[in-house]
Amino acid sequence: MATFPPPDLLSSRQVVIVTDQILSPANFLLHRTLASHFKDHKDARCIVLLVSESISRWNAIASRATVNLAALIESQALRFLDMVKDIQPHLGTDDSTRSTLIRSLLQEQGDAQADQPTLILLDDISTLEWMGYATNELVKFLRALSILARKGNASLVVRHHVITPDTPDVLFRFLLQLCTYHIDVRPLSSGRSGAVNGEISLYRGPSNGTAHVKTTPRQRAVQYRLTDATAVYFEKGTGQAVL
């Protein structure tokens, strides 16, 4: 039975991007990352930047993984920050939402103790671009966010939806330059299946200096099958349907 992700992947100062497609959403990885972050570290802190996932879904799935989010929110260990206001952005411009967000994050980082393992999780960057935020502004925001994470010894996880796998868009190319690791979740090329939901590869990014986590190239991608609350991982060709 394979496991994913490797244990040291989300150690401090890592910037990890997660890419997925509509037939294989990577929500399960984000939920697992949050749950394992709080299970592995006693005094962990986490900031979730909400774009697509709702708090009720975070709660429902975390409760199945025996993580009590309500208690964590109460103890200020976990914070949900909404990234979008109820007014549509003017096309190609920026508003002050994210600059105030960065400021509040900086404030929080100042309050936090340096040895507390912190995770910043942005659940979706693509939808912001699709609804009209300028790509350049999003690139600036991501750069500021990654610098903030590195300064505060925090790790950053950003999810990006790939809709044209053959022609990567500008935001994806920037994220690839920024990241230390890239997790790629793909559907099976043969279409949907009940036995295998998709496969995961792990690559090193260009910003990776010293960290050495064993990568998973696409030829040896880890396959997974979703259940209600978690995912079951197995090596390629060793699924229940195959053996």
């Binding site: 399960f28 697509s52 879904r57 096309l91 939808t127 699709w130 609804m131 349907a241």
Partner: protein, 461 residues
């Protein structure tokens, strides 16, 4: 004292609302019906409250998305749920909905002619009489779709008849009781119409939450049509995104959006447009009808279009309930049978009385919609070889017949010159062939498939 403790199951309080029930996958997920049992099955039992669904119908020659929307509205009115319909001609749209056949005051549009269902029922009765083998009697009957709702599930999903129209009285009563509301698409100042509509919807949901948390269904037929003004892809994404946020905020409501047909293609929104729509909605399904492509309707004569599923709702679980519980998609069945095969191909067809989604199968004969239990009009080549056939029954193969005859004649006329024998054999064979052809003449003329013109061809000199 035992060290084992029974784990207390924390059940969320489910206020009984008309026409809703818990999802089979999670007690926290409350589902309601779309009005079409087979679509409910595809969605994993029904559309969950707090979720949005987008029905795409890119074919400009048909309006199947609007038909699905009418089912959705009619179901809301039948269950007396709070129903919000968005659009300048919303009232007219609701008045065109279908209704249940037995209801008092329902207006049948036609009467007296036997419907498809009656014919199907007769055909199935006929098929039931045919016994193949005793060992197959216990086998489940082959089905391409799910069953119609029976009396026990009637309060969840009603049985609508497309030949019946909704009575005016039902709409007026619902309007008086504020069960149904019509929200026009208005243009005021700089605000976009989608923002104005969503603000109105939010106000109504807020007001409802204060009084009674009814299950509320929101329907936006023809989103993005001319009445919405000039919209760009960012407006569509923003509308769907904010609508979904609104539903999360008011989890007793659900929504169905049917964009205008020109918005349902990648040409309009750029590469990956359909995927973008699927990402900002919970359920996203394309009904690609065959209206624009006659060759497809020739290949699949018993269906009106294909169904493509892009996204499935999963409000409280990682795995969409549809993957586990949908009989039509068959994803979980393939997993449990260790076959590892994918999901079924799905298609839809609109009969005289109802719209159904079903699994797509080619017919046994390769796509010909022929009823196989009727006596065959032609005979198979096996029968031609039998010895006691009368000449009128001897059908197709003249060559085979001639060779058999030639064999008989050759045994009789031994000793003649070889060339004479050959000519006589040939003449016998030809005369026999003529007789067979004469016997076949009164039979059914063969259907001509190819196109033929009486006018001479351009290069026919």
């Amino acid at each position: 004292m035992s060290s084992f403790k029974r784990k207390a199951v924390s059940k969320q309080p489910h206020i009984a609302q008309p026409g809703t029930r818990s999802s089979p996958s999670s007690a926290a997920t409350i589902i309601t019906s779309t009005g079409i049992p087979s679509l409910d099955d595809i969605l994993g039992g029904g559309l969950p409250l707090s979720c949005s669904s987008v029905i795409l119908a890119p074919d400009v020659h048909s309006a199947y998305a609007e038909l699905v929307a009418k089912y959705y509205i009619a179901q809301g009115l039948a269950l007396k749920q709070r129903t919000l319909v968005v659009g300048d001609s919303a009232q007219e749209f609701v008045s065109e909905c279908m209704w249940t056949p037995g209801a008092s005051g329902s207006v049948p549009s036609t009467s007296g002619t036997p419907g498809d269902e009656e014919e199907e029922g007769k055909a199935s009765d006929h098929d039931n009489k045919v016994k193949i083998a005793w060992r197959y009697e216990q086998m489940k009957k082959f089905q391409t779709t799910v069953d119609s709702p029976n009396s026990s599930t009637e309060e969840f999903c009603s049985t609508f008849d497309l030949t019946c129209r909704i009575p005016e009285q039902v709409i007026s009563e619902a309007s008086a009781a504020q069960t149904v509301s019509f929200i026009p698409v208005s243009h005021q100042g700089d605000a976009s119409p989608s923002d104005i509509v969503l603000n109105q919807v939010a106000d109504i949901l807020q007001k409802d939450r204060r009084s009674t948390p009814w299950a509320t269904r929101i329907c936006v037929p023809l989103f993005g049509s001319a009445e919405w003004g000039d919209i760009v892809p960012q407006n569509v994404i923003w509308f769907l995104y904010r609508l979904r946020r609104l539903l999360r905020q008011y989890p007793h409501s659900c929504a169905m959006v049917c964009p205008a047909s020109h918005l349902c293609e990648d040409q309009w929104g750029g590469p990956g447009w359909i995927q973008k729509l699927a990402w900002v909605s919970d359920a996203c399904i394309t009904l690609s009808a065959f209206g624009g492509d006659p060759s497809l309707s020739a290949i699949f004569p018993s269906h009106h279009g294909m169904v493509h599923i892009h996204a499935q709702p999963a409000p409280h679980t990682l795995l969409p309930p549809s993957d586990r519980f949908s009989a039509l998609r068959g994803v979980f069945a393939s997993a449990s049978s260790a076959g590892g095969v994918g999901e079924n191909n799905l298609a839809f067809k609109c009969m005289r009385k109802r719209l159904i989604f079903e699994t797509l199968h080619l017919d046994v004969e390769g796509g010909v919609g022929e009823r196989r239990t009727t006596p065959a009009s032609t005979f198979s080549p096996m029968e031609v070889g039998s010895s006691n056939n009368t000449p009128t029954e001897q059908l197709p193969s003249v060559d085979a017949d001639a060779s058999r005859l030639s064999g008989d004649v050759a045994t009789v006329e031994v000793g003649l010159e070889e060339s004479m024998a050959q000519t006589r054999i040939a003449s016998h064979a030809v005369s026999q062939a003529d007789e067979i052809a004469a016997a076949r003449k009164p039979g059914k003329a063969k259907k001509k498939v190819a196109f033929r013109s009486d006018a001479p061809d351009l290069y026919d000199f």
